[in-house]
């Protein structure tokens, strides 16, 4: 069985971002970049399936500028077998990402696609579902448990009221939620080994995908700041403020 994992290069989750004063976007110059946390969980799950003998090969793909090869190397150091870099602009939109992945799924004969449920920069939560539609594959989004056997993926999903379990015929798309697993750290020997693993580069043009989008960003602004209020000294004072000043209880 072949697994495709997509890894997105995003600003590190602990960096406090700043909106550019001209409203054109977020200032990422010199910001620390990392693998999107949900993608890390997807990599970990793929590697576990390989370790269990369920999967034979794990391919890591990233779409973006040359710099995203760093994130592919991270996936290789964690245990992915080889990488594909789709050389494109940094901000390819979800539908185009899904179209690129569709081509790779068809070209590589993928049985299971593991993706993060959303990236922590654009917060879209779309690619896995879109890939499902384009390929006709079933989807198991927001997975907190995954079992793959007998040509099926049984996925337990995080839903608003609790958990839901669905059974999907392979090939299928699964997107990861936080509790699916706890990703490992790459060991130094594995980081060294990863440098020798193969990364192929391809462009969206070569795959026959048009990456233009019907959506354009008009402006990006900082949200209205919330100012700190006051410190109260006691529970009595707190209750009194909530009753008489804020009038919320």
């Amino acid at each position: 069985m072949k697994i495709l994992v997509a890894v997105k290069r995003v600003v590190d989750a602990y960096v406090k971002i700043r909106v550019k004063s001209d409203g054109s976007g977020v200032d990422l110059a010199n910001a620390k970049m990392a693998v999107n946390p949900f993608c890390e969980i997807a990599i970990e799950e793929a590697i576990r399936l390989k370790e269990k003998g369920v999967a034979d090969e794990v391919i890591a793909v990233s779409i973006g500028e040359k710099s995203c090869q760093e994130q592919i190397r991270t996936a290789l150091a964690l245990g992915a077998d080889r990488g594909i870099h789709v050389d494109a602009a940094a901000d390819v939109q979800p539908l185009a990402v899904a179209r690129v992945l569709q081509k790779l799924v068809e070209k590589e004969g993928i049985d299971l696609v593991l993706l993060g449920k959303q990236s922590i920069d654009s917060d879209n939560n779309q690619v896995g579902q879109m890939l499902g539609a384009l390929t006709g594959m079933p989807q198991g989004t927001f997975a907190c448990k995954l079992e793959v056997a007998d040509g099926k993926a049984v996925v337990t999903r995080e839903v608003d009221g609790g958990e839901q379990t669905v059974s999907l015929k392979l090939p299928a798309v699964v997107t990861t939620d936080l509790r699916l697993n706890e990703p490992r750290y790459a060991s130094l020997p594995n980081i060294m080994k990863a440098k020798k693993k193969q990364i192929d580069t391809v462009t969206p043009d070569e795959l026959g995908v048009d990456v233009s989008s019907g959506l354009k960003v008009v402006s990006v602004e900082a949200p209205p700041a919330r100012s700190a209020g006051i410190k109260v000294e006691s529970i009595d004072e707190l209750i009194s403020k909530l009753k008489t000043e804020a009038k919320v209880i």
Binding site: L95, Q129, Q139, V217, K231
Partner: protein, 309 residues
Amino acid sequence: MSILVIAEHDNAALKPATLNTITAASEIGGDITVLVAGSGCDAVAQQAAAVNGVSKVLVADNAAYENQLPENLADLIAEVGKDSSHILAPASTSGKNFMPRVAALLGVAQISDITAVKGADTFVRPIYAGNALATVQSSDAVKVITVRGTAFDEAAKEGGSGNVEALDIVKSQDIATFVGEELTESERPELTGAKIVISGGRGMQNGENFAMLEKVADKLGAAIGASRAAVDAGFVPNDMQVGQTGKIVAPDLYIAVGISGAIQHLAGMKDSKVIVAINKDEEAPIFQVADYGLVADLFQAIPELEEKL
């Protein structure tokens, strides 16, 4: 303009998130049609028809739609909505599940989690966990949109007189099957719709201590939430998580107990009207957004709060 709103429901009752979505549709302006896809969902259709502003309700009643499987639902919505100007659904785990699939079937972008309508083609949505707000404009023929419920008021449940029409479209794929679900039973209000929310963080130390919050919640008629730290530590289940990766809430009163205030958590609650923080660390970032902060040991403060309410 013709707007198709996808109803969220459990086959018995219309979920309030649908009402917020209908308000967003009204702000766009145009004829509002609600699609109710489910099984034995006639009562839901009647409720939807009564909502103020709804002109038509389409009902697709079939076993294929009983559990809202996205493979079936997306095929149905794409066919019914292909000539609409907009298709809207709540940005719940259900809407988030099937809507991108609809967008891809129609070959258009999806606009996720909108918090404001600037025009028929222009919307505001949070990015970077709400640390930035993007205004985006769509040139697609059909605008596929998920709506953040807390950003729009609920439409009135009465006053509408929409016609109810049955649809005879069955989309049933055998690639996915529903196995089961385990829903948390609770007498308390739903987290995303509650007027008051009290949440615990890592400072709660364990799951048993959440009983202290329950007692306060019972007195206030509040829902109980948690930070990601408390969920990751295994204190409480994930459906209680408030934050970028959990639920987004905006109650009248949000009480954060033993929560430090990571960016990730603030993204889920900073639009609350009044925020109270109780934390023993006076440097905790949560105090920077709190209207009322109390620096205290929660194990003394919470029982006292419960007693005095």
